[in-house]
Symmetry: C2
Subunit: 456 residues, 2 copies
């Protein structure tokens, strides 16, 4: 094996980024603003602050400032689990017999098991700084909820998590991790909120969705004094915090003198993908470099590849602001047999605009092929990957196999967002051979899209 | 916070140890030899090789060679998840308000979730080199079985794991990880072996024990051509491989110019403790340095603190060689309500001799206090620790609190052997307040010890 480049490249602690990068500052076409669902006018700071922490609202609305200082308290916390390694996938390359050089940025070496902690600690910090008592949120697979529990525990904040019911049932251990960090976890939809009760009435027996859990968490935030709502993906502020992934990856690549040709990330709401690619897209936007950037989404929930670029509700209860994004409609629910995560119906406005403008491409992959890639990766690279991350692995393997055919020595970078230690139910169905691929029909998607809000 | 010393110290890849250190070479009183249970004579190489891989038998019997080269293939694999970080527990120190300086060597950043991989890959390598078809083993909490599955998958070996029944039932997800790596997992006692059937007959409804699972795995190894038995702890060879922990820890401490006063490790069979302390004990044995070394064991399974130093069977079925060790008797079974791991009835012969000669001390801790320490550690240091590792955390916190009283600025090093992501059932009972401390009575221990084999 080629030994010049180490298996793992770690930055030193003082090389961890001290600023987040705001890719919006370099976008000619800015992402469309959030709209007030009543007036259909862009949301103002005053309209956002009853729901979100004030400083986070400023970050949300700022399309111009290129860099934001990372507060010292957050830098300290980052040192607990960062820098995250950049790994040269020598073992995978060898197993594939590819001339491609594969790297991955691994964000799973922390108890939340994923990159979500990068934004959770930032959001908890600003909530604490504002003097709040606690925060509410939703979680799907549980990674975000775990990350937020850890962050809130660190700052002594109350943490209330609405967990999508099918995940709550499939992943009882996730609940216990959150409880160990002091969080209160409620399966969603629940009868603790008006919107939850309404959804239960309309769809009894529903297994829940992220959109629905968001509605409940928002309601819980605005009805309790001293609480705000926080969100683990989709929003501009989240992508901003997650740029620590891309900035670290780029610094590590620079350190070993490597330039990627292809950059691959899985895409649900877009937090990991946006964070990973931002510095690279920034170069593209400024005309300094070119990269092939691939967003990988599940064929069961294909917002980029089969959704519509339009204003939509971020939540099922339709109480949140409208966002312009590639969406399957806020009523879209992926099949309960879909075990691969990335279940959100829409996609970050920033990424949607970048996709619309041709800076990134997208592809959808089916879950059995995703788990086959996951299993192969686990066996040769040693880490059992999260199903979400395995979408990126699938695409990275596919690209490396193309190189094997053509003989090209491309350099591939992908984001390994987390570990699959709490996703063993899904692995079990793959191991048992009972996993299926359920892809929504055109009619299903058309029906869901027919309910999009009417916005000029 | 004191910033001179980083939160995490990583060696570079070329600083990973290239040799294991054999502490026996420096022991004046060598550990007592394994005895043939029939003849009560020391086991010879010829008697051991039908059960164990040949090269591993040589390592087992070698009390003189101070260093063993780590084969290149194992060094390559080590790079997959090593070097493991040495962490300065700044957050824990702050939360305790102690003048003590606390460091831990973290071995959990791999999918097996623990240090067990260090020996698993070595044992799988020697099995492959010998041309074997596969290996059999037992696993308790599942860490060893997972580690061995990963190692066997890497070398294309068949892997058969007998898993202690109560763990098998409490930890279904552990089984799925092993299956994902291609292993076959059987709950023990089972009716797939003669010894399993005998134990089931004698103790119907037993929840199993490590000693019993060992018997089954040994029987499975010797009755299948091309198979050998491998063990994750207790044996000299295992402690040898695990010295990579202590050697790395020592190299990292040297790098930052730190000398520990107290070294703490949890002790079940002794693999982690032996691996961590070997280089330090070596200095003590050679009169080059002095350290306070503390073995921490569960009050539910107190082999050092309440056991007898005597020859005993390593397994319940009494088919393995006899080992001289601190033991509770091979029929001792810790209460099923004991959730903290470290359930083995005996202790490594090397560590037993060192303890007997006063080079290390031991203490037993109750599991509710262990989980309280685990919860505190998780909340301030971010990592959810394995229950096993949390025994060491408990003692480290206790020592740091003593320093707070006395004002002493002692430097404490402990081994954080792994993560608790598959131990959430145990955390659940702690979170629910239903966890209890069950300590064996003197009569129970006396009864079990009365069945020790008669050896002069």
């Amino acid at each position: 094996m080629e030994e010049k480049i180490p298996y793992k490249t770690y930055l030193s602690e003082n090389e961890i980024p001290k600023q987040w990068y705001n890719v919006r500052a370099d976008m000619k076409n800015k992402p469309a603003p959030l709209l007030n669902p009543g007036t259909l006018k862009p949301m103002t700071l005053e309209e956002l602050t009853p729901v979100f922490c004030e400083e986070l609202c400023r970050q949300e609305l700022d399309n111009d400032t290129p860099f934001f200082d990372i507060p010292q308290e957050i830098q300290d916390f980052y040192k607990m689990y960062r820098p995250a390694p950049l790994v040269r996938a020598y073992f995978l390359e060898k197993a594939l017999g590819t001339p491609a050089k594969i790297y991955y940025k691994f964000e799973g070496n922390n108890t939340s098991g994923s990159h979500k902690l990068n934004s959770a600690i930032a959001q908890a910090y600003y909530a604490k700084k504002q003097g709040l008592k606690g925060v509410t949120t939703e979680t799907g697979a549980g990674q975000w909820g775990t990350a937020l529990s850890m962050a809130c525990s660190y700052f002594g904040l109350d943490c209330q998590v609405y967990m999508v019911k099918c995940s709550y049932e499939q992943k009882p251990f996730r609940r216990e991790v959150m409880r160990t960090y002091g969080a209160k976890v409620t399966p969603s939809p629940s009868n603790t909120t008006a919107v939850g009760r309404k959804i239960l009435e309309e769809f009894p027996g529903t297994t829940g969705s992220l959109g629905c859990a968001i509605s409940e968490a928002v309601e819980a935030a605005v009805t309790q004094p001293g609480y705000r709502y926080v969100l683990g993906s989709v929003l501009n502020q989240v992508l901003l915090h997650q740029t620590v992934i891309g900035l670290e990856a780029k610094a590590a690549l620079d350190k070993i003198g490597v330039e990627p040709d292809i950059i691959i990330g899985c895409a649900g709401g877009g937090s990991n993908l946006g964070g990973l690619i931002s510095p690279f897209v920034g170069q593209k936007l400024r005309g300094e470099a070119d990269y092939q950037i691939i967003a990988v989404e599940p064929a069961s929930c294909p917002s980029f590849t089969r959704g519509k670029y339009a204003y939509d509700f971020c939540d099922t209860g339709m109480i949140c602001p409208l966002a312009k994004m590639y969406t399957l409609g806020s009523h879209f629910m992926p099949s309960p047999s879909h075990a691969g995560g990335l279940r959100y119906h829409g996609m970050s406005s920033i990424l949607s605009q970048l996709y619309h403008d041709g800076y990134i491409e997208a592809r959808a992959v089916e879950q059995t092929s995703v788990f086959a890639a996951a299993e192969m990766f686990a066996r040769v690279e040693g880490t059992l990957p999260a199903p979400e991350s395995s979408h990126a692995i699938r695409a990275a393997i596919d690209e490396a196999l193309k190189c094997k055919e053509t003989g090209e020595e491309k350099t591939i970078l992908f984001g390994l967002t987390g570990t699959g230690y709490f996703d063993l139910k899904a692995y079990e169905s793959f191991n048992d051979g009972t996993m299926t691929d359920i892809i929504p029909t055109d009619e299903q998607i058309a029906d869901s899209l027919s309910r999009l809000p009417k916005v000029e």
